[in-house]
Symmetry: D2
Subunit: 510 residues, 4 copies
């Protein structure tokens, strides 16, 4: 007789049933400590599945109630610790119930499901919950960005391309860019969420079962939007992992770029910003050092999420259903990446408001290296009717002359401009000194750019209400999404109450 006693039950894999040997330890990756973020969701699925089975009377209601009572008892004692006591892993719920209620009752929980939907439900709920947190944090970050804009739209600084100074802009304009970037990250998460928050429950391993399960009910009890229809698709398609890790990689790359901007601007050579000391460390040998820790951690996120995305793509390569255990590798890396993404968003939310701008240095740089040159040419077009290209070439010569002669932009004279014009087209341009001076002023450069989305204070502030409205809508979306999850959890407890109450005492009578 191989049937185990309640106390000794070690799970369905015990040697002597189907297989004749225990799995070697190096391949046992099913303990609670490797379930990552899925432990809680798997526990919830145990409950929701039991409720559904009981309500449909796929199992006797009394048995269902008995099991649910034991699970509530487990919750009082601590879910994680209790599950670990009985061996851990995704089947620890069943193992616990069999040890407590014997196989004749506890052995009924797994009707109509498989490790497949356990794993997939656990994974999807855990991912869904983390994605919701990331969405909320992204909104918090957007709110911080919007709050900082009004006070920084006059902080003139150089913008760069090809690593070279391009044109003057402002810190507020730069913040506004990030508000749009993270609004798009939110959109990507929201779009992902619509596909991610779908229920595989009841699909078992790929064909469902011939038990009379109600997939919609389990889906509702777990806060999913609805069941994934095709049962093979539900368990064996993993484009949701590929999409999620890809979206995390895009988000990670955005965080990374933000970190790179901050790193560069905080070098002594740029000297444009300063971090609060608590986001920095110093050196054991170079005591002058104020190493920016926060932006480096932001940069690391790009690497971690890019690697995660590659791991997911690589591991999933293969025919449908072939790669199964390989997925553990992806998931382990994914729970870590979720944790680090949350940490980096929280850092950034706290860091940004406390960054100190060195406004004088920023504006000095914007005027000292010819970032404003574009508008000297534009002045020639506006004032003198020159074609753009002619004006552009004249000022190109002008810049070269100043470089050859060591003249700073602010010291340029109309004579020098005429010298350049004569070199290019044999005649002077005769721009007035006044116009030239305004053209050379980086602050005026910025203020002239009132076009849609431009860097002038007017243009940036004009868009702020729109950004705020967009954020408000997304915050509302999150309230609804979070509420849906909370309502499902409450509904699940109510359903358990109903079952446990109604059948109270029935088990004892068995």
């Amino acid at each position: 007789v191989r049937q185990q006693t309640a106390e000794s039950y070690r799970g369905f894999r015990t040697a002597g049933i189907r297989l004749t040997e225990e799995v070697v330890p190096s391949l046992m990756d099913h303990r609670t400590d490797t379930l990552g973020d899925t432990l809680g969701p798997i526990h919830q699925f145990d409950k929701a599945h039991l409720v559904m089975l009981s309500e449909r009377e796929v199992i006797p209601r009394a048995d269902g109630a008995a099991m649910l009572r034991e699970i509530r008892d487990m919750e009082k004692r601590g879910v994680e610790a209790t599950r670990l006591e009985v061996g851990g892993g995704m089947h620890s719920g069943e193992q616990f119930l069999i040890r407590r209620l014997g196989e004749s009752v506890g052995g009924r929980i797994h009707a109509g499901r498989s490790s497949g939907d356990l794993g997939e439900v656990g994974r999807r709920v855990a991912m869904r919950d983390s994605v919701l947190v990331l969405m909320n944090l992204t909104n918090e970050l957007r709110a911080v960005l919007l709050r900082l804009i009004p006070d920084t739209v006059d902080a003139v600084m150089p913008g760069h391309t090809h690593g070279q100074q391009a044109q003057p802009t402002t810190y507020g304009h730069w913040l506004s860019m990030w508000a749009y970037v993270f609004a798009r990250d939110f959109e990507r998460f929201r779009s992902l969420y619509s596909r991610l928050n779908m229920s595989p429950a009841g699909a078992a391993i790929l064909t469902g079962s011939d038990f009379d399960v109600d997939r919609a009910r389990t889906s509702d009890l777990l806060g999913f939007n609805e069941p994934i229809v095709n049962t093979m698709d539900a368990i064996l398609s993993h484009d949701d992992i590929l999409e999620c890790t890809a979206v995390m990689a895009v988000h990670g790359a955005n965080i990374e770029r933000l970190g790179e901007d901050l790193m560069l601007w905080s070098t002594a050579e740029f000297g444009m910003i300063d971090f609060p000391d608590r986001f920095c460390g110093t050196s054991s040998i170079m005591m002058q050092k104020k190493n920016p820790y926060a932006p480096q951690a932001m940069k690391a996120l790009g690497g971690e999420t890019a690697a995660l995305s590659v791991m997911a793509l690589y591991v999933e390569k293969g025919s449908t259903g072939l790669p199964i255990m390989e997925r553990h590798a992806t998931e382990t890396a994914m729970w870590s990446a979720f944790a680090n993404t949350k940490a980096r968003l929280r850092d950034t939310i706290e860091l940004l408001p406390d960054i100190k701008l060195r406004r004088e240095r920023m504006e000095y740089l914007a005027g000292a290296h010819w970032a404003q040159a574009t508008d000297v040419a534009a002045a020639l077009v506006h004032e003198k009717g020159l074609p753009w290209r002619t004006a552009h070439q004249i000022v190109g010569i002008l810049v070269r002359l100043t470089e050859e002669r060591g003249i700073a932009p602010r010291d340029v004279t109309t004579d020098l401009l005429d010298e350049a014009a004569i070199e290019y087209m044999d005649s002077p341009v005769q721009l007035s000194q006044d116009v030239l001076q305004r053209a050379l002023d980086p602050r005026a450069f910025v203020e002239r750019r009132v076009l849609l989305g431009g860097p002038s204070a007017a243009a940036v502030l004009r868009e702020l209400p729109g950004l705020e409205r967009g954020l408000a809508q997304d915050i509302q979306f999150m309230k609804d999404a979070d509420a849906r999850v909370a309502a499902a959890a409450a509904q699940l407890e109510e359903a358990i109450d109903a079952l446990v109450g109604a059948k109270s005492g029935a088990v004892a009578a068995r």
Copy 2:
């Protein structure tokens, strides 16, 4: 005097203006033959920008009209060839116009724009156009899948997990999975499209300009949904590339998996399907070979798109605006990946309907290796009220016994089942031979699974109308999206007509 004559004009980079040397040939990546898919879009942008400048009178209408007339002349002579004649590259429009009209007219086209918006507009339009093609092809593929389902819902075959036979399902159920997979791919493309089809035009390099440009007008003329607001964001954020390559990688991974399924099933050992000869090659040494070319090309797409995604993430790493030329590497790889994705979708659309199913072999396999075991246990639950786990363990022992004794599933007797039951729980289960036989029949296994999304013909066909409705909506979406692009192109030509007609002859009078 450095000003060039019309004939000799070689562009604004000529040595002697700003710089003193010509760029070394190994770094000149701006010729038409490296513009990839962006040549046409850049040409359109030249036209739209000229229309907008002329309408707003940022440049004299007569000059605008003259330039547009020349561009139409270029179109008669062939855009690509003509542009290559004048040196190629994204500024070949301006170069052509200056050579034809002199710098005094042709030198006006570039007012209020930069290589930045040229590159970004060209890239986004080219990506948008390719994404629209991919979306249409994805819909065609979905249509093929749906058409093939009704005739294949009775083609019983084994489903696999961990590389081992799992449970019987059908080819139609498998096709239905793919219909859902590609519906999600379409959703991802549609979501991407909403962020991709936004206009950077007028944002110049990061601050726009102080010319009175109308960004909305240019956006409309190019078929964009609307301008990207923040001008720095418009040019220097590239999360759209990261998202697009990521979505392509997810899509590529799906195509790859489909190819893997087909490859595996077409091995002699599986022997479940056969390809039309035109998708195969033979060998120069092994004349028996019928090498499946199409699925291997599908598999290669996974590698190409995964690599593209890594290249994009790697190349974009850095502070805002720092990586610029590096993007050429990504774009070159992206145009290739678009072309290959289109080719693979077209192959698949043609291949799938002509795959020959070896239905007898498929059904034989589904019954020969215990894929149906689940339902023997289920029968014990349904008929004998056993807990699932007890039934599961008994059948586990049964399977082991058949293996030890070399008994095929179909030859299993109720006696053997009882032997297993006795071994497990000291008593027989006494299932009737009839019930056992039905439990062992893979076709019956499938037919019992009528649950939502299950593999039975009834369940699969029940979902078909929903899939068809979804596809119909997405086809309508594509009609609208394609129409929008076509309408914009028409609107642009009309605007040119208006300008060219009204000011006809004006240039000659200059």
Copy 3:
């Protein structure tokens, strides 16, 4: 007064010295529990550095001896726990010493070094030690492969390309391939080892120091081959990480491919091999399942190491010395990948000898699907003098005819061959039935291939001594390499003995 008392000393980063705030917890990644495999090596470096400083009298010998005594005391109490007590992290040695001996003595350990060489020494020693383990395990695996060859050179089976049967070969021939593959992996590790086992010690952060350090002495005491000469190179170049993760990725891909072969052959449809049960699991729903865990874990390694390689490349992108903390992400992933590579090698070493070959099935498959066709054409060349291409085309037609008519290879007649010949060239080939039969026999096919490296038993066994010699040399290399590390450790302890003994009691006299 900011100087800390011995008990309270919390390290050089304490707020109030250089910086005014403590680092936020989310950015404190310096605790012992995140040092990964580098804790031991950093401890060794503390000792070696103290020995060198004392011997050179960069610090008073008495102070050096006092510190070394305390460190030995720490070793008695447990290095990891003690270091964690004083705050953990790479500077826990100094912190421990200051707490025990006050800053006046303990504060001397860090003269002439930096976190830079602490981190780099710790990392390189840890990598070196893991690479040596991988090299030894690779040799063990090679030994297993060589042992299994003689008994399997007669196990005829089909070889595949394009997923289709190509030609008959043997399991022993396949094992021999892997012996060469892993010999090359060993070579790659050995080549890497020569660059990896170089000492950064004394290079501080990039310029070394003006203390009179002896870099060669520290290098010797840590078992390095020699110092990395250029001090900037020593700390800020990380191509050794890139190479190591790349070599691990190649090795991981090889292990992955081996796992794929085993997975495929163990499918019911191939049915060529069977795994010992302890490397498999079964299913909670499909009790017939014998899921091969070991090969899936082998496959996962490919994904983990590919991702690690990408993370390293991505994270290191940037100017020299810019990415520093990002490296923690790579290292965390690297220690995990080392552990998993070791585990998978150990699994494979244990698994391979216990795989059960289904020899009859293997040979049946090799003859049932025309894998032997090549040699029917070869027979026409040998016997009838036909050009290869003519023979190839005739047999191509023959195969098609058998397929159209449902004739198995073994039932082919010379008449049918003549029919094919006539179709191709209007005349029969008149091959004797005897020759045809030998051509059609997969075992004979294999035996005919006596060429260098061919699959015949003779050819495979002929190469075995060479493989064994190569392995013996590599085993000797490992003995030497391991001995070098052991000798260095002994030398370090002897040097400590000498210092501690000579100056015994000196500290107390202070």
Copy 4:
């Protein structure tokens, strides 16, 4: 009768032999224009194989001679064009010969080989040849670096870590680092070369053949070191691709980092170096721009090679021999990456000597931001016997005070230092003004570092002879390797001469 006439022969894949349909055009990837760098090597293999077959009399010598004569004729007419005329692809040699000599002669070339060894030989020779070019270019780059060192060992500049100024060093010290980096790259290429330059020829597709081929002879004629022994390994293992792309990725990452250093230092804000104009471009809108093209192209190489490595790893995933056509994707990307790596090495070799150092700015920066702080603490240790940590903390306070009070490093007084000391330990340190000044001088900082590998001119120049010797050895290695390839090519032509001469006229007599 299906046999083709000479003129019409279209290859062994013609519909009607084994298969009944022609391959669809989208899957025909075998034309000459997609053979990439392998066209020449495949042509050489045709010749070497014919020589070997003729010498061994596997085919009649007269037929071999006739074919070799035709091939020489093809060479006169142009190999690529002629092969394209007959359909292109790896079998174009055979097709050409059959069209010229009929199937009765031309149909003999393929005896004893397969598309497998054609592809593998072509690939390995092409890779070998490119790797040799990369090795020579790497040596040229090392030579340039060594030449530039003597004149730049006195160019003091700041070194950075964490993006912050760390310590003063010199441009010459930095160049020396790169000399070591590229010496290691050379080592990696050399190690790869030893595994890469092995001959698969004669291994056919995985078992060789029963023809009496001489694998060693073909190997010699193609300049390989020796045959890859195991025939399955020779064709179906691709760790050489994985290693090659990995080594290219490491090399690409090194080139990338060099580009990043140059980019950063050429920003206006750093202003340390200036590029020759020919490696830069300017902007169509910002005429002040001098965009560094060369370093951006260097950076792009990192992305391209990282992506290539991922593609190779992804594509090769699968059981032995399963992925075949997928490899085309990898190869296409690999030929491009080889070309770009060569181009970037050539750019760098030309660029480096012409970079203009702004030495005053470099030295100013090295002293203006406390990079020299380390040595103020060191002075306290040397002069006052303070423990390192005490000195470090005191100077940490000093730096903070200067920052709070806006004092530049050079204006620091001994009083301020004493204030810091008193704050830390209640007593002044009383360092002499003279010592303090020397400690604060960045040039003196560098000169004090005479340790092995340190930045002082003495230390850097001391290592130069060793670097030169290492380079000289590697240049000699290349001479030998290149000579081996040249000798093999000559030997092949001689062998052809011998065959063609001896049997001249024999074909006509047939």
